[in-house]
């Protein structure tokens, strides 16, 4: 039982990271109708910044957080400019943006491996220290709690932002019809930049909370990016709550797979889960919107 609960807690913590990435995908998709596969590598870049700030230079946590946000947002804006904006202007068929964002993620990964090398990043001290406390006989690390809380706060903030603010409503409308949005005086390009900034901040937070939990290396970007997508597919496209539930489900499923089946093949948990969800309920658990025809 203790083993189960420990795995559950760890699953919720890792799942919170998947959920955060899924949330950043949703923010982008709402405003640009593109799916940014480089999001995972943006997070990986944030983890590296966290490593340099905290492990090498021993800077305060707040400085590290600000540095991560600055770097990830800057990279997001660069990506928006070079890999996404050219496609937003261009109507027509194809998934050209998909190739472009994949190319961007390859560039980030290669640059990172040239700066850092192939070694794994050592675990980084968490923002709330490395303490644990015990609930019902289970040791719960504060860094796990932090990940979970950050995800919930981000989700609630985004829900309020989309429902209550004018700009939030505009950001949801743009992807559905760019022309109509333009006619209403909404600057679609500014909106898509803003979406990249918000998604960048969310991803930076994901990097900040994941760095102490999982020891990563420069190749984890694509893995996290794809697992964030799987969280999204499980939860359902377009639903913020779906992202959170999907992320948590995936995280817990992985830990349970480790515990009860075989920890060597953990990655299969996600693959099997997504294939089952797509076969049984293609629109996901909370899916509100069909993915547009391509």
């Amino acid at each position: 039982m203790t083993l189960f609960l420990t795995a559950l807690v760890a699953g919720l913590a890792v799942g919170s990271v998947y959920g955060l990435i899924a949330l950043s995908y949703t923010v982008l998709f709402n405003s640009t109708a593109i799916f940014n596969i480089a999001q995972g590598d943006l997070m990986m870049a944030g983890v590296l910044v966290s490593y340099f700030c905290l492990d090498r230079w021993h800077l305060p946590q707040v400085v590290a957080l600000l540095a991560i946000i600055a770097v990830v947002v800057a990279l997001s804006l660069l990506e928006e400019r070079v890999a996404v904006r050219p496609f937003l202007r261009r109507p027509g068929i194809g998934l050209g943006w998909f190739i472009a964002t994949l190319a961007f993620s390859l560039i980030i990964e290669t640059v990172a491996s040239n700066i850092y090398g192939q070694n794994p990043v050592v675990p980084i001290p968490g923002a709330l220290g490395d303490g644990t406390f015990t609930v019902a006989g289970v040791h719960v690390a504060t860094k796990f709690i932090l990940a979970f809380v950050v995800m919930i706060v981000v989700m609630v903030a985004l829900e309020i932002f989309y429902k209550r603010t004018w700009i939030g409503t505009a950001m949801r409308g743009v992807a559905e019809d760019r022309e109509v949005a333009a006619l209403r005086g909404i600057d679609a390009l500014r909106i898509s930049r803003l979406a990249f900034v918000i998604a960048g901040v969310v991803t930076a937070l994901a990097a900040f909370v994941v760095a102490p939990i999982v020891s990563s290396d420069v190749t984890v970007g694509l893995t996290y990016g794809l697992k964030g997508f799987i969280a999204l597919a499980i939860g359902g496209f377009g639903s913020l709550r779906g992202c959170v539930i999907g992320g948590l489900l995936l995280g817990v499923a992985e830990q349970m797979f480790d515990l009860y089946i075989n920890s060597n093949y953990e990655i299969l948990a996600a693959l099997i889960l997504v294939l089952i969800v797509l076969a049984v309920r293609p629109s996901g658990l909370f899916g509100t919107r069909a993915v547009r025809e391509v």
Binding site: A83, L95, L102, T110, L226, I267, A279, S283, E293
Partner: protein, 649 residues
């Protein structure tokens, strides 16, 4: 003799068109003579060659079919592991061919496992799910002792296993296999199967409107390319005698994609050239490997943004300028087939067309005499072929559909009788196009039913509507822009001129006959509509009015029982408009029921037998044109006047 020389292009530069590929193929065969033929070197060449087979496979699914199975390396890896395991446990009697077959079979299954669920959602889901599979399979293999874990399976260490082929002979065979795969992909894309892929890639609505089953066609694209990628796994294993998790990392999938995009997806040779460049650099310039990701990433990004059709499309343009490729869009279609098989009269019209097109239209000088008022009289009948057995009318009963709070179509009844033209008018947003999309099953009904005679359509998938005999055009023409006008019409003919896809791909006797027949019929319909001068032009180069006519030709080519035309007159010139009216009347004369959505009310009133007027989703009026002219409610809604449009005479 002179004629042969001319045909081969001597005298101009067009001979380079076949000379360049031939030279490249020769170079490919003698690479070992040029670059060293040690066993190690040969192995490296063969590795790249087996990757090129995957590039060909990826191009079929993605470049032509539009199905982003990016993680095709997962399929390759599974096929390779299958082949090498069989070889490990049954070392005797397994050769190159057996390995390819095993790889192909297992690869096909793996492709289906990835594709079946992911395709239910479509779009980039397939890309991401397959990419995840490409990530997961090597990761799992790394830990799995049965497949040799991290070190992999070395076949050369297996006792009793001796490959029959080796050295330069093996190299020549592998090159031939790559060429064979390329030839297959050419045959495939120039067959009825390939036509379906391109139609689906262009637009799912377009594809289903000519009766293509979207889900099955997507699966077929993925299945074929998976089989090929699995076979590549067999080739890899046989030539390398080894397979390990590192042989197919997820980055390899990205490299393959880069090769295809840079060379040019959707062309036969583009992915080969791009793949050879990228994979070759990756293989032979290992000292720079550290930075390869940056170089390839930047290249991929630049091509995706600036040259989405790839290097080869660019080379073709250069080739045109240098006079190597014949300029597109002039004269009769490329290839000799249509003229040989077309009826003599049509062939004569083609011959005359160059004169007719340049000179002023000459009245009555044959079916291809350009657009003029009299051309229409020569339209041949187009009696229904699909759905002709059932004499029933197309009936819409109590149709309702709302979007959110807006009821776009509200309790509309409508009957389109065979042999009659039913006009559908109404202001923008009155629900006309929605009604059409309901009939086409692009939207589902909230209430009501749609049927032909007593056969319900409203519970059927969209492609079944076309197969029941209903053709349609779109408000903004949907054409395959990179295909010629002729190639845009052929897939519609192929719905009713049928043979097995395999016969068409492999050019079996019936396949050849059917391929030719489809082409000839498409050609004839385009010519009757006076479009002989654009047959070989890419649709992207056609003016708007011509695109509408090509779309109309595609609808007629189905030889349907009913035709739904969505604002076909918008943007047509007066001459084209007259042709359109004649086409509608000719369809009706031939026994086809026409549902004509138009804003051009005078035209509708002059040719329609019945007119329905929609207003805010409801039927405002239904009756003959004469009754409409006398009706005050229509006039008041549209013109704000309380008198009839005009007094009936």
């Amino acid at each position: 003799m002179n004629e042969i020389a001319q045909r081969l292009g001597f005298g101009g530069r067009t001979w380079l068109r076949w000379a360049i590929p031939v030279a490249l193929i020769v170079v490919l065969y003698i690479v070992p003579q040029l670059g060293g033929s040690s066993q190690f070197r040969l192995g490296e060449y063969e590795e790249v060659l087996s990757f090129l087979v995957i590039a060909v496979a990826l191009n079929i699914a993605m470049g032509y079919g539009g199905q982003y199975i990016l993680g095709i390396t997962a399929v390759f890896a599974v096929g390779a592991y299958g082949a090498i395991l069989v070889a490990k446990y049954h070392p005797q009697g397994i050769g190159l061919l057996a390995m390819c077959v095993i790889g192909a079979a297992i690869g096909g299954v793996a492709g289906m496992i990835i594709g079946l669920p992911a395709l239910r959602v479509g779009g980039f889901y397939l890309a991401l799910v397959s990419l995840f599979a490409a990530l997961a399979i090597p990761t799992v293999a790394q830990k799995w002792a049965f497949v040799g874990a991290d070190t992999g399976i070395p076949l050369y260490a297996v006792l009793g296993y001796t490959p029959k082929l080796s050295g330069e002979l093996l190299y020549v065979i592998v090159v031939s296999l790559v060429l064979l795969a390329t030839l297959f992909s050419w045959a495939l894309v120039h067959s009825r199967v390939g036509h379906r892929f391109v139609a689906l890639h262009t637009s799912e609505q377009l594809a289903t409107s000519i009766g293509i089953t979207a889900y099955r066609t997507k699966l077929l694209a993925i299945g074929i390319s998976s089989v090929l990628a699995g076979a590549a796994g067999g080739i890899y294993v046989y030539t390398q005698q080894f397979f390990a998790p590192g042989s197919s990392s997820v980055n390899f999938a990205v490299l393959l994609l880069a090769g295809m995009v840079i060379g040019g997806g959707g062309s036969i040779t583009g992915p080969l050239i791009g793949g050879a460049i990228i994979l070759g650099i990756n293989q032979f310039f290992t000292s720079l490997q550290q930075y390869n990701g940056i170089v390839f990433g930047v290249l991929l990004l630049l091509f995706a943004v600036f040259l989405p059709n790839g290097l080869l499309a660019r080379l073709n343009v250069v080739g045109e300028r240098l006079g190597i490729n014949p300029p597109r869009g002039f004269g009769v279609p490329g290839g000799r087939a249509p003229i040989e098989v077309a009826p003599a009269g049509v062939a004569a019209a083609v011959a005359a067309s160059s004169v007719a097109a340049s000179a002023a239209p000459v009245n009555g000088s044959g079916p291809g005499a350009g657009l003029n008022a009299h051309a229409a009289r020569q339209l041949p009948p187009w009696p229904p072929v699909i759905g002709a057995g059932d004499p029933g009318a197309l009936v819409v009963e109590g149709a309702r559909r709302s979007f959110g709070g807006v009821t776009a179509v509200d309790n509309v009844d409508l009957t389109v009788k065979r042999g009659q033209i039913h006009g559908l008018i109404g202001s923008n947003g009155s629900g006309k196009t929605t009604l059409l999309n309901l009939i086409s099953r692009f939207y589902s009904l909230d209430a009501g039913q749609i049927r032909i005679g007593s056969v319900r359509l409203d519970d059927k998938p969209p492609h079944a509507v076309a197969r029941a005999g209903i053709a349609r055009t779109f408000q903004s023409p949907k054409l395959m822009l990179r295909e010629t006008a002729l190639e845009n019409v052929i897939p519609a003919v192929e719905l009713r001129v049928r043979c097995l896809g395999l016969e068409s791909v492999l050019r079996l006797p019936r396949g050849i006959r059917v391929n030719r027949q489809a082409r000839a019929e498409a050609l004839e319909i385009l010519q009757t509509l006076g479009l002989h001068h654009v047959l070989a032009q890419e649709a992207s180069a056609l003016p708007h009015g011509t695109r509408r006519l090509v779309e109309l030709a595609r609808a007629i080519a189905l030889r349907p029982s009913f035709v739904l035309l969505d604002e076909p007159a918008a943007g047509l010139s007066p001459v084209e408009l007259e042709l359109l009216a004649e086409v509608c009347q000719n369809l009706a004369r031939s026994g086809v029921g026409v549902l004509l959505i138009e804003h051009n009310v005078p035209m509708v009133l002059s040719i329609a037998d019945t007119v329905t007027c929609l207003h805010q989703g409801k039927t405002l009026f239904q009756g003959t044109p004469e009754e409409l002219r006398a009706n005050t409610s229509v006039a008041s809604v549209f013109l704000g006047i309380d008198e009839p449009l005009e007094t009936p005479s």
